[in-house]
Symmetry: C2
Subunit: 204 residues, 2 copies
DNA sequence: TCGTGTGAAGCACTTCACAGCT
DNA sequence: AGCTGTGAAGTGCTTCACACGA
């Protein structure tokens, strides 16, 4: 039972598991059983055991799983062990809100660069970071930044994505309401808040 | 082949379909085939035909599907035909960014109320809307608001969710990095931007 | 000829149930 | 006694392939 065959659905659940585990760790909880953990992540216990079994057995029968070990395992699989630098493109309302949000630390991310086309913003600071001109996106690779958060208007999203791809980025979190065309080596995750809202009335 | 058995995966894809269809409609495109549509939504064409077949056949063989008919159908299924009023809780950076975002119109949502605990904000306007004191959340039901967007700090998310449930809300879009405990009748969708970012390095 | 609509086949994830360890 | 780890069974979504209509 080895790494390569972890189902993609399992991978999707891992960040949620990690968040809950860090929460438990902060509460100084040492062990957690699949049953108890189930309450925290809203996933059934056999599913949790199955998920954990994909990356090798290390639970203690009769006791549960060691929280810190789990955290290490999941960080390892998601490649979150070292701090990952991320770039933010777009320092509008949404971009600013995101850059000031400290939840990224949980997953080992650090916003290391911010870009915006507006001359008013270039050179100013948001938190600790100086806003740069978008032509400098090309320097991301040499600065060791491989992940970008795209918070620009839909009209310029594709164009900006192209720049990011050219700069050697390999992951984009797209917050614009549109699909992006990118080469296969680049992973895109799109979050459109309005769109997510769209399924709510169905379930009412 | 009737409504109740539409797979939940299909439902999840509908808002994305709707967004693309509205885009096509704005470009005055009258018909679209599953193959062409596939390019727009990044879903394979047999899947698209299958999805559409769940809500009854109405494509034209050799031609494709009529864009406006599809829009009507999907709006009908997702219960988005009438304008849905939504409340926004939390007028911080993120809340403000959301309230000024006009993408909600696409899905027939209208932010109709904003709440915040801060005395500095209560009574001020964000766009057209006056920020209200959170104790007024209880009036949401009588104001015909059934959906809420929760943009408050994680610490107060559960507490606020409880208030919303008490006010008769039946859908919550939770932007805080935590799970919410709610009765089964209430549908919660959680979006944690940092968490979504967490899977990107895995695919690099 | 082109594209829909759909039963049937295929596939992947989930759930079960229980042996085995502590 | 309690909980893990896992083959096997179950489930539901996706893909196929082709008849049929325009």
């Amino acid at each position: 039972m080895r790494y390569s065959k972890i189902p993609s659905e399992t991978i999707r659940r891992l960040p949620g598991y990690l968040r809950a585990l860090i929460f438990l760790d902060e509460k100084s909880r040492e062990y957690v059983s699949s049953k108890v953990f189930s309450e925290y992540v809203h996933v059934k216990s056999p599913q949790i055991r199955k998920d954990f079994s994909y990356f090798g057995a290390f639970g203690t029968k009769g006791v549960g799983y060691k929280v810190t070990t789990l955290i290490e395992q999941i960080r390892g699989i998601l490649k979150l062990k070292e701090v990952q630098k991320a770039a933010l493109i777009g320092a509008g309302k949404l971009g600013t809100a995101i850059s000031l949000y400290d939840g990224f630390k949980t997953y080992g991310f650090e916003i290391a660069a911010i870009f915006d086309i507006s001359n008013d913003k270039i050179g100013t600071r948001i938190g600790e970071i100086v806003v740069e001109d978008p032509w400098k996106i090309a320097t991301l690779c040499e600065r060791n930044i491989r992940v970008a958060i795209l918070a620009v208007p839909a009209e310029s999203a594709q164009e900006t994505a192209d720049k990011l791809v050219g700069a050697g980025i390999n992951g984009i979190l797209n917050l614009s309401p549109c699909y992006l065309a990118v080469p296969k080596r680049v992973k895109v995750i799109t979050i459109d808040i309005a769109m997510e809202l769209g399924v709510l009335p169905y379930y009412s």
